[in-house]
Subunit: 468 residues, 2 copies
């Protein structure tokens, strides 16, 4: 039984005066997919909001999902297709002919159509596009011409623009009479003769100004305009920073090509965060819905890298096998230093990667961050050296004087490794960022390799020095 | 020298026809803070967008920031105060009198004022509130009455509502004439006599309908209404799922209390993501700007937990010290199994925690996820058993038959630990989630404890069995 996907108290009115429980709807869907007729299913699907239905796709297992696709594809809702996660959307488009896909995307906003098409193979995409009417096709092709994950790919080409000499009254009349406008929009652009935006204005400002007011007088000139090649991640940061609802997208000459709205940016921001969190966890682009073979293959690469780096740590240990043979207590204690370093390094790394992503860490304060991590490493290093050292002396008390030696060795190695952990946790991601590599990609493996190698080496080398 | 905080091509027009480079502005700010007069500084600050200035606060070190605060506080911009990160905002309010804070927050929207006040001590808050004019104070107190991180705290009480019998024309006239409306709004609510919302309508729809149309005819009844006690994290998921620009916030009787808009939700979504990513990295609520002592203290707790769990792993090793004494190669190889398990567990954990947060993993597909992780563990377990086993036989070749024994031991332990890693990586966060604990909080430490203990135990126990 599915549990409540949503708190039951959240009212989501699908029809007037009816509060619908998503969880109950989903339960019924599962049982109908299992044993209902196509008609019963089609009937039941009318009660779903397209976003809820898109979520349901992700929860179903393959056989039930296959049946659901067969039912929805006869009359495919463009909103549903757009809301599906990438890999689920691909399952649906793969089950349709090129002409059928073309029909659905023709009904979408250009930015949505671009997102459906960008996941398809080059060949399929061309076939679909050839069946899209010319006007819509041209809009879509403008978007597809820009690189993946750029503002140009995410923009909607349908924008409402008015001239610099327009009045509020003229604008309101135009909005009421013109039929070829986007379905929903939050802001208008005031543009000059060369289609360059000179200001942006929200509908609430228009509605609250006298009809005779000139648009350019009330337009906000503090506008944020992004070139079409800007990374979408950059765009999301700008929206959050300046609390934007709409940003204009311009070409190299400053001409307005389209706009990006805040609802699209919410999704971009989520994708970018997911990417970071998964990379830091050593997983690539994996979803909960990937099959066993897909998941195993995606994780294999990072595990292989980890096997190599773990072998490196073993190599360090093997350099001291004679020392360990002399005192097996060293083998018992050595993982502690490595593990503490690994954790301290991961802490610093997490803070640093986030601060780089949100641009709170720039070259202006890098040195300050490094100095700070050095000091934190020293401070926590000495604290944990004391704790681990005293505990060791106490626990290995029956070894007599040797217990004091062991305590000293673990304390010394702890200080060294915690300092190295702090420094590598900040320096490695900063360097990767400077070199143009996403710091979340590889920092985790690098940092724990450093702390493992340094941890084992410091501990065992100190031991062999002391015991000479 | 600060590097470009923003791609230089992004145009951010602060004044008409002037493209301002944020990085250059910041450079000048630093040098003026260092050696300029207060007048020069005040003059320079006029060129800043409040969001850029808020970012600059975070980059400056304490002495320069102190000077900046002294300059801005004489004529504090409410937008600037609101945009500051929590800890920086607190620095500013601490330097102001209660009356001065009250003056600034009176100019804010109620949701913004609530956010400023919620970070203050109970006593300071009461003092500030007593200086806020009654009307604004009442609005603020409505928000503060709800729990932290709830929809009630994030809502703006200033909402535009119209009656069910209003026409478009009446509405437009009302918007133009009424002076007590929010500065910016994207949607209107249609409410019944009991102030219960019956529909929501965007300004673009109003503008595009004939004046005689009844508002309730064009209002969208598919509205999402959240009770004021809903968690803000839940609200952010709803906005993303249903592509909302505005959601109504209601009380227990269904009466409209206020609204939440998408720009506020962007920030909530970011905060919630940051929280997850930091928790997974074993850091609490830390920012790049925390001092050495603060950071050390915040990280200490997790490191202490890790010290205890690392000691647990050592305890397991010590159970087999006689075996290690017999063959020191075991000490060399044993970290490999533990490390591979730790990484595989972290991979599964990351996927699971994300899927729980986005509700892609519900009780409907939990068993499927567990079965999948079991199979991935078996598959990658056997692959890496083979790799590590063969490599061991090869590298320890000069030990003769013993090398084959060692290879077998590491292979067997690897299979066991990779399976345990996969299972614990999915089962532990799911259990924490069921028990109402944020799965990101503790899963990391628990999972690596399990994989360390099982890894060392499986490897050394197999070895002592084989060598008996």
């Amino acid at each position: 039984m599915p549990d409540n996907q949503e708190s039951p108290e959240i009212i989501h009115r699908i029809e007037p005066d009816t509060s619908v429980e998503t969880a109950a709807l989903f339960d019924q869907l599962v049982s109908l997919l299992d044993s209902g007729t196509d008609e019963q299913l089609a009937q039941h699907l009318h009660g779903f909001h397209h976003s809820d239905l898109a979520d349901a796709f992700g929860l179903l297992d393959r056989p039930l999902r296959k049946r659901l696709i067969d039912v929805v594809k006869t009359e495919l809702d463009p909103d549903l297709l757009f809301e599906l996660e990438d890999h689920l959307r691909k399952e649906v488009t793969d089950s349709l002919t090129a002409r059928e896909v073309a029909e659905v995307i023709t009904e979408m906003d250009s930015d949505e159509a671009v997102q459906v098409l960008e996941d398809m193979d080059e060949g399929d995409r061309a076939e679909v596009l050839s069946s899209v009417p010319q006007e819509e096709r041209e809009d879509i092709e403008v978007g597809l011409a820009f690189p993946e994950e750029s503002a140009g790919r995410r923009m909607q080409t349908d924008v409402v623009t008015v001239g610099t000499n327009w009045t509020v009254g003229q604008t309101i009349d135009y909005l009421r009479e013109e039929s070829d406008l986007p379905e929903e929009f939050l802001d208008l652009f005031v543009v000059d003769e060369d289609a360059r935006p000179v200001g942006i204005i929200s509908l609430s400002q228009i509605l609250r100004s006298p009809r005779s007011t000139l648009m350019r007088e009330i337009a906000d000139e503090t506008q944020v305009l992004v070139p079409a090649v800007t990374l979408q991640e950059e765009v999301a940061l700008l929206f959050e920073k300046y609390d934007l609802t709409t940003a204009g997208v311009i070409d190299a000459s400053g001409k307005l090509l389209g706009m990006i709205t805040v609802d699209d940016v919410m999704e971009v921001a989520r994708e970018e965060f997911e990417e970071d969190i998964l990379l830091l966890g050593g997983v690539g682009e994996e979803t909960i819905d990937d099959g066993v073979l897909q998941s195993s293959a995606k994780r294999f690469a990072w595990l292989l890298v980890n096997l190599v780096t773990a072998a490196l740590a073993s190599l360090v240990i093997s350099m001291f096998d004679a020392t360990i043979e002399q005192m097996v207590a060293l083998a018992v204690l050595m993982p502690i230093v490595a593990s503490m370093g690994g954790n301290a390094g991961t802490q610093t790394l997490t803070i640093t990667v986030r601060a780089l992503a949100t641009k709170e860490l720039t070259s202006y304060n890098t040195m300050r961050a490094i100095r700070k991590e050095l000091l934190v490493g020293v401070l926590n290093g000495f604290l944990f050296a004391l704790l681990a050292g005293v505990a060791t002396v106490f626990i290995f008390g029956d070894l007599g004087e040797t217990s004091i030696l062991l305590g000293g060795i673990i304390a010394g190695a702890m200080v060294i490794n915690m300092i190295v952990a702090g420094l590598s946790g900040v320096v490695l991601p900063v360097l990767l960022d400077r070199w143009g590599v996403d710091p979340a990609v590889a920092s985790g493996v690098f940092v724990t390799t450093v702390t493992d190698v340094v941890g084992f080496f410091a501990f065992l080398a100190l031991a062999s020095l002391v015991m000479l």
